[in-house]
Amino acid sequence: MANESMTIRDNADAKIVDVNEDLGSYAAADLRKAIDRLINEASQQIVVNLSQVQHINSTAIGAMVGAAKRLRQNNGDLKVYGLADNLKRTFDLVGASSVLEIYNSESSALAAF
């Protein structure tokens, strides 16, 4: 499980995290670390691209919810886009859809900062 499973891109002030593998418990820890690193490097605007993700679990969703809350304390935010139907359903079930801003495309996510 190499780390090409997650790549980071720059777009103006935002960092885009492309997740290239399913976010089970093992990969969720990687995602949490990647986001923490960005926040420590003073990124305030983070977009997570979930379009390549087929499975997600509550730990991975929790990591994104936690990061969004921390970023908002400094007027930043974490937004997500590209959720397949099953992923969206899981976000809805755990209530994350009402906490996180979810977009259909990268451009709309970026435009919303």
Partner: protein
Amino acid sequence: MTQAEKTEQEILKFTVPSCLEYIRPIQVFIGQLAQQLGFCRTRIYDIELIIDEVCSNAIEHGSETPNSGIDLTLMFDSSKLEIHVRDKGKCVQGNWLATGRLDEVSQKMTPDSERGHGIFLAEKLSDSLEILTNPLGGTDVQVVFYFSPSNDS
């Protein structure tokens, strides 16, 4: 093989070390089996999600070391697929995870809480969830998925 062809109960068992790396192989095994049994895609997705949540808990909260190991038992007959996940516990005094505590976990859960959604998801997406203290001092989590015309495809 469809569930209708199986009248007796079939039992499959696994033992794996308490490491998160084994969850994905377990998921693909159960996903493949669920597909062969005729569960629809959405239901297979839910089964795989619950396996992840329950096994993660058994590894993170119910295993002292990676060598502790977790045991899975899959059982199915013509009406249902049942999955039992057993851990050996962390040797804490008195197992707190009684029914009362499970309610507590669910009640504490708010949309913006970062944790505590695993058991909630298992409860929501399965047809039955039971959490029991086992003789090894650990926890048995038992989930059931019924075959139903609306779930099959």
